[in-house]
Symmetry: C3
């Protein structure tokens, strides 16, 4: 992970985002603070042109507009055809027909990494028919949960693993990862599941900690393998969250201190992060 953190700071890789309007500013600022560069686009011609100069992309299905229904599947197919790597944040998976239709379309042209909370990972795995018990007419394991998870991360271990294996099976180099955010974060490449403790409960009291982690994961994906990218970004977030919590007095000062901490956290601090097998 040390190498990934250093590599991003040395080369300022650009990761493009198609992301929601709530946290788009924090996504860009977090990508810059981590040492990368940011570009945000929504029109397919714009996104596809920019992808030619971006190391990886980030797609977040938070605040949908009508034209996304055609635009997002088109963009995902273009990325798949070009072998372009991208990170998906399946925000609010399971809510709304339009979102479900868009997320379903990604099954055949999938991202390289999925990052979400436990409920979103479980919902996406169900939606793609990858759940163990998936059968037509089956009751889904998880109910839709809005943007907040109603499930614990441990409930997402098996779904995350299945999801990662599906992503890897369609990746040009057979490599993919899934990251589940929670009190303790999980990351898996489909084989091994890692547990990353730490962070701060204040990360749930600002909007966009999860979204911006997705954006920063895309920055790392521009310079390293999906598993290392997901691990390094998650570890950086946890270290920065701890530093920011100690330096703040509420969610306003937490967000400021968090961006400063993304900037100031050293490669050594990230590399020294505790990682356990799940």
């Amino acid at each position: 992970m040390r190498h990934a953190v250093e590599q991003v700071r040395a080369t300022t890789p650009m990761a493009q985002s198609f992301t929601n309007f709530v946290t788009i500013n924090l996504v860009a600022n977090a990508q810059l603070a981590a040492g990368g560069a940011a570009a945000m686009s929504f029109l397919p011609d714009d996104v596809i042109d920019t992808a030619a100069i971006s190391g990886a992309d980030y797609i977040n299905v938070g605040t949908l507009l009508p034209f996304y229904k055609d635009a997002l599947p088109k963009i995902a197919r273009a990325f798949h055809k070009a072998g372009h790597r991208w990170v998906l944040d399946p925000v609010a998976a399971g809510i709304g027909e339009t979102r479900t239709e868009i997320l379903r379309s990604f099954r055949a042209a999938p991202p390289t990494i999925v990052r979400g909370n436990a409920s979103e990972i479980i919902a996406l795995t169900d939606m793609w028919g990858l759940a163990e018990e998936a059968e037509p007419g089956n009751t889904p394991v998880s109910r839709p949960a809005g943007v907040e998870s109603v499930d614990e991360v441990d409930a997402a271990i098996e779904p995350a693993r299945r999801l990662a294996r599906h992503l890897a099976s369609l990746a040009p180099d057979g490599k993919a990862a899934v990251a589940v955010s929670g009190a303790v974060d999980l990351v898996t490449d489909g084989a091994t599941v890692y547990r990353l403790p730490g962070g701060s409960p204040m990360m749930t009291k600002i909007t966009g900690a999860g979204c911006s982690l997705g954006g920063v994961t895309a920055v790392y994906l521009a310079v390293t393998d999906p598993l290392v990218a997901a691990l390094a970004a998650t570890a950086l977030y946890n270290r920065a969250g701890e530093t920011a919590e100690a330096a703040s007095h509420g969610p306003g000062s937490f967000q400021v201190a968090f961006l400063d901490a993304l900037w100031n956290t050293t490669p050594d601090q990230v590399a020294a992060s505790e990682i356990h097998l799940a």
Copy 2:
């Protein structure tokens, strides 16, 4: 009001927003800092699905896109049919045909609370034909004012009362409120008019103090009556504004201190707020 503040912090009620792109991030962060949860959506299927799990909704007509013209009336009708409570922020009421058409459509499927500045409240009351002197061809009392009020809050007392009575007449439980933001804020349930002094002039030097107050009002509306929700949210904002002004050196540090103060203001401080009859 003490109970409402405590109840929000104890139960983390979710309020969904359909709001403008300028201040959408601050709305969500203010809702979280007040102790609630946030979700932002724009597509009718998404909004209506999410409303099933949200305690109340917030609609702000600030930065309109073409599809809002059909989407917003549809959403308002769905809320009305379901008896779902919502707060309207009629930003820039009176400017633009599209905005006028959307705001007119809300007359028959109205919100539970309207929060705006004096000019917006006067413009909406005129638009709905509720003004004393309202007659076809009449010159409106107030000229359009962009997003800034050109009228003093006192000019909005009678319009606010008439507006609140209209909202109440169509509410399932007969309860509604109107809040007018200004140097001294007004809140009315259609019968009594309350005056809430305090706050900070710096609240007009950051974008979104008004919008985010609307969002926080929706969070309170999820746990209490419209009158109490409007009073409690307005009082919380004034106390937080005073704390933030004392702790800041300009609009950048004011916004940070303001979010911290929303988080740290106690139920006792809100409950001790001065409230006068107007």
Copy 3:
């Protein structure tokens, strides 16, 4: 420049923006911090209505949506017909067919000021056939660069001058300016080219320093000539950047300190700024 800074603080001129979703909040907050007022709109009826009460407008082509293709040319023509002054930020000029089509349409109904990085200024000058070597089939001087410049400001001196002369030739009063942001900023009215040193490298580590400079330039344009507006806004930004860098520990605290510094920088400090002939 002193007079422009004082005039803005004394009269709170409103500048309306049609701008991207990433930095829209910072644009509005910077306009307020500089002493102006902000309004953000996207629908032509809304923008054109609001322009009647705005001193100048700001258009930024960052995050395009499908309807902008018709809306933006329509708005530019309405401004041109009304002699309404506006600032263009040609973000990512050269990327995407939709953006190119929109930017091309502005050639005949141009802004009063263009502000961009060197690559954007060069790309726009090429696109409008104003470059010295412009001939059908010619290789453009600059390759598309995403949102980051790949060219040094000096490479944009001649393109900026040509661009400014084109803008001036179509301005009602024959006055226009072009501002090129970089390590040392350039401003030209088409005749003289000025160099403004200073600022902070941290301005490239937050998103929106350039966009919000465009918005603040529009606020100044509401009270003074294009050349003075571009010089004063650029000088204000450099002084505020220096103050913020000294007061911050990373990009989070830099943005906070930067907004405070926009608020606290005095007319004298702006007026004392170094300006050289290029």
